[in-house]
């Protein structure tokens, strides 16, 4: 038992140890252990990724044009994100420039993902941390209707509508088969919403479930299916043919009109349901503006996303800018360079991998990874673990650092960077929320701030869908129909060796893939993904990552019911299949895992 000080945090693991495994309502498998003091305040936190798939090993020797399909399967929730990062990296390596239309269609597909993913996260992965579904049974439908009409002009707002939803919920609960709501924390004192707000939010949980399937149809139109639409090195696979011979076989007015209609409905749903709900719910949970901040007030990073100019990933082009803030200095936003060896590096000191000198980090172009499942001083056996030991190795996730600093990534990080860079759109949104909730700017650095930033970004993205669509139509009108550049499609046109990396921002945060190509094949492939940045374990210096930092000093109402842990961890929108990965760039065989 010990007290460790790092980054201004005090870690004390002497109190009662609580294990939450599985963390549900996330992608993949995550375990959180915390120690609480005698007042049930969290004093130590341990984040463990409990899965590893080895995709980068699998990519070695493959055709780089195929890589997008493999890495797309890293994650089906942020579907397409990894495919986008992949085609950009391969294009960077091979010097391929994509047509303007391809950039616009990619931006449209990616902003569609932002809108969809954030919406589903808020209602289906996060809401039950704040909304007591059972309490909704006690609501007065008439007053719920008044509440709804007071916060937005959304149509489904009559007392009759809420009575119907409540009736369905009542029958569901009375059936005795509670399904996904079984064993929830209903009735906990940690829930603060009045029954009417709970009923409104429950109704919107169901409406959002119905509506989310509409948003993704934009990906289906351009990519053929969702989840996991198709992408292409050199552009996009869908051809556009507005009025020529065979236009019925391509993207034509029929589909463009459908896209436009979905964009309108997406903006409507997010601005009339999601954002008003977010603000209404937040107003009952203002105390969460003081908890859950973790690294947010210190170190945040964004790679930038949505290039306004095709093939230009600099801040001149990126509609959400890149940058790093260290030590909470909002006045100095530093530039990110993914190719410089001393910026992005990964450590494995506390991860189940081994490398030569574990006190050093390695740049993704030079990374070495061999699995090394060694539970060290953990309690239990390697196939039946009771408690992990944070002084040993304890996660399948590595610890990436920027110039040695742990940083938080994600919508909040993007918004802080954009705010600090003076982005007017983001500034206006953030200032509106701070004013509505009557909280200071420091409220951003919290669980509430993280959840609010995601909602604002969903709205931003929905409106940008319209912007990209209008740009696409303007470009088609100007006579440019090109969607793919196939000049360097044939491997015979490639150099003997090449390497590339390009920035992107997954809905969950900064994402990049580093690819090396040799003799027309992938020689090494490395992804450093948002949840690796946020959920990773401690590094060689004992510095903690964003998840662990965010849980510290949060009081729990009842440590047996981990609502507070879920609130803060869910505010990051964890994606564990993304976070756990490995590669072996020099081609060495993976060693078998040794028992300790």
């Amino acid at each position: 038992m010990s007290v460790i000080e790092t980054q201004g945090f005090k870690l004390d693991n002497s109190g009662k140890r609580i294990v939450v495994d599985p963390i549900t309502r996330i992608e993949g498998h995550l375990r959180i252990e915390v120690n609480v003091d005698d007042k049930n305040v969290i004093r130590n936190a341990v984040s463990t990724g409990t899965m590893w798939r080895g995709l980068e090993v699998i990519l070695k020797g493959r055709d780089p044009r195929d890589a997008w399909a493999f890495v797309e399967r890293i994650c089906g929730v942020c579907t397409g994100t990894h495919a986008l990062a992949s085609v950009r990296s391969v294009e960077d390596a091979l010097g391929i420039r994509i047509p303007k239309n391809a950039n616009l269609v990619r931006n449209l597909m990616h902003s569609t993902l932002y809108a969809h993913d954030h919406l589903v996260h808020f209602y289906h992965l996060h809401a039950l941390d704040w909304v007591d579904v059972v309490s909704a049974l006690k609501a007065d439908p008439k007053r719920t209707s008044e509440l709804q009409q007071g916060i937005s002009r959304w149509g489904n707002s009559s007392p009759g509508y809420y009575r119907e939803v409540q009736g369905r919920l009542k029958r569901f609960v009375e059936s005795g088969q509670l399904g996904i709501f079984a064993k929830g924390y209903w009735g906990s004192a940690a829930y603060k919403l009045p029954p009417e707000a709970n009923l409104m939010a429950t109704a919107h949980y169901l409406e959002a479930l119905d509506f989310q399937k509409e948003i993704v149809k934009i990906q289906t139109i351009f990519g053929g299916k969702n989840p996991h639409p198709n992408w292409l090195v050199g552009g996009v696979p869908c051809s556009i043919n507005v009025d020529g011979t065979g236009a019925v076989g391509a993207i034509n007015m029929f589909y463009l009109n459908m896209v436009s209609n979905i964009i309108d409905r997406t903006i409507e749903f997010i601005d009339q349901v999601y954002v008003p709900d977010l603000l209404a719910i937040a107003s009952f949970y203002k105390d969460w503006a003081q908890w859950g901040g973790g690294l947010a007030s210190q170190n945040v990073m964004a790679y930038g996303e949505f290039p306004d100019i095709a093939n230009d990933y600099s801040n001149k082009s990126m509609l959400l800018p890149s940058g790093v803030i260290i030590g909470g200095n909002l006045k100095e936003v530093q530039d990110v360079d993914l190719k410089t060896a001393d910026q992005v590096q990964e450590w494995v000191t506390h991860s189940w991998y081994k490398q030569g000198d574990e006190t050093k980090g390695l740049h993704p172009f030079d990374g070495v990874t061999e699995p090394n499942f060694d539970i060290g001083k953990a309690k239990g056996t390697r196939t039946n673990i009771e408690n992990f030991d944070e002084s040993s190795k304890y996660s399948w996730i590595k610890s990436p650092r920027w110039k040695g600093h742990p940083v938080e990534v994600g919508p909040l990080a993007r918004y802080i960077v954009a705010y600090a860079r003076g982005n007017e759109e983001v500034k206006a949104q953030v200032d509106m929320v701070l004013k509505t909730l009557d909280v200071p700017i420091t409220a951003l650095f919290s669980t509430l701030g993280r959840t609010a930033a995601r909602g604002l970004e969903a709205s931003w993205a929905a409106h940008k869908m319209r912007y990209f669509y209008d740009q696409l139509i303007a470009n088609l009108k100007a006579g440019d129909l090109n969607t793919a550049n196939v000049e360097k499609w044939e491997p015979s046109s490639w150099p003997a060796e090449a390497k590339g990396v390009a920035p992107s921002e997954a809905p969950r945060g900064a994402l990049a893939h580093w690819v090396k190509i040799k003799d027309k094949r992938i020689d090494s492939y490395q992804c450093v993904v948002p949840t690796t940045w946020n959920a990773g374990p401690r590094d060689a210096k004992g510095q903690i990552g964003a998840y662990e930092a965010s849980l510290l000093n949060t009081p729990m109402v009842n440590p047996e019911q981990p609502l507070e842990i879920l609130r803060t961890i869910h505010s990051f929108d964890p994606c564990l299949a993304c976070a756990t990965h490995v590669m072996s760039p020099e081609g060495q065989e993976l060693v078998s895992v040794k028992l300790r």
Binding site: T50, G167, A182, F222, N226
Partner: protein, 366 residues
């Protein structure tokens, strides 16, 4: 007391007439006709909701995401009114030991009567330590939940075949469900992911008919997997006419020509994409200009690049281009590819003869 789906609908104020219409539509979407509608109506009026335990191994959650895209029936209605989704990492409110309690209670209470749905697969290398939810190898959780299950649904290509993490060299020894659980009926619903309405269609079928659907030799439901994407592809006439896309975004691509020469695996892929289509019947990969990558086929990651077309194989005289899933079976997918290539060549040659366009012949096997 259990409540039936019909009770729920009625109490929500849904009329008897709407209910009957719903049954007809569901029957129609399953291709079952009026008798089927009757059966569905009876089932909905008499049965409690079937408990479903939905586990996740090594996977990417694309199957769960696809499932919630279902339009008919809506995912909302499946979860609230058709099944009782008692355990789902992705959607359930409870976490940690409360979640595990929900799992144990369902297993105990509905012994032999719940359906186990599996998304992803267990990695078996090194005692299974590459997936340890709850601090224990996932394969143990899978075996535990499978023991008292009535039947198992293997969602997607991970559970059905192994999928991406099982691609060479399969570093974690990711293993499909049927190779670990051998004493239960297993229905494979492959695809990366499977089509949403195929997923809910199969659930609805099982609830309605109280049995697993007819399956092929590999355990795939025939109603969705007995024909190739190529068989029902709307671009098939272009294939037959020898009109192929030669490059992405070329003149042929803009007219919706056949993508066979861009590597399309439609001729060897058994799935409903070209018939049922994706996201409420809106589109499917070929329609959006990219070849089928064959994501519902076993081992599709290791069958050559996605942009290489299937030509270099000798024609084995097996099944021919029109063989069925059962006849072609496990090993002959490449054979079908060769037959298709031959068919493409023949149609192209016919074309060339009639049009004297030599370039069409030369492009077939380039």
């Amino acid at each position: 007391m259990f409540e039936t789906y019909y009770d729920l609908m009625r109490r929500q104020g849904i009329s008897r007439r709407s209910f009957v219409k719903f049954c007809s539509l569901t029957a129609a979407s399953l291709g079952l006709g009026e008798a089927g509608a009757q059966q569905i109506a009876t089932a909905m009026q008499t049965k409690p909701r079937t408990p479903v335990i939905w586990l996740h191994g090594l996977e990417c959650t694309c199957c769960s995401e696809s499932f919630i895209r279902s339009s008919h029936p809506l995912a909302k209605d499946v979860v609230l009114s058709m099944i009782s989704l008692d355990y789902s990492d992705t959607l359930m409110a409870a976490a940690g030991h409360q979640a595990e309690e929900a799992l144990e209670e369902t297993i105990a209470k509905y012994k032999g009567n719940y359906i186990l749905a599996v998304e992803g697969n267990p990695p078996l290398a090194d005692d299974g330590i590459y997936c340890i939810p709850g601090g224990r190898p996932f394969v143990e959780k899978l075996r535990h939940a499978a023991k008292d299950a009535k039947a198992i649904i293997s969602w997607g290509s991970c559970a059905s075949w192994g999928c991406v993490q099982a691609a060479k060299p399969n570093p974690t020894q990711a293993t499909p469900v049927h190779k670990v659980i051998t004493d239960k009926p297993i229905i494979k619903v492959p695809g990366c992911p499977p089509i949403a309405e195929v997923m809910t269609g199969i659930v609805t079928f099982i609830l309605t008919f109280d049995r697993l659907p007819d399956m092929d030799a590999q355990g795939r439901p025939k109603m969705f997997y007995s024909q190739r994407v190529h068989d029902k592809c709307y671009r098939r006439p272009h294939f037959d006419a020898g009109q192929f896309v030669e490059n992405f975004d070329d003149a042929g691509a803009r007219q919706g020509f056949c993508l066979y020469k861009m590597g399309c695996k439609g001729p060897t892929t058994y799935n409903a994409c070209s018939a049922t289509r994706w996201n409420e019947g809106l589109s499917f990969p070929i329609k959006a200009g990219h070849g089928c990558i064959g994501c519902s086929e076993d081992d599709f990651w290791d069958k050559g690049g996605f942009y290489n077309h299937l030509t270099s194989v000798q024609i084995p005289g097996l099944g021919g281009a029109e063989g069925t899933a059962d006849r072609i079976g496990l090993t002959a997918a490449v054979g079908a590819g060769a037959a298709i290539a031959a068919h493409a060549a023949v149609t192209a040659i016919k074309q060339a003869r009639s049009k004297t366009a030599n370039d069409q012949v030369s492009t077939v096997e380039k």
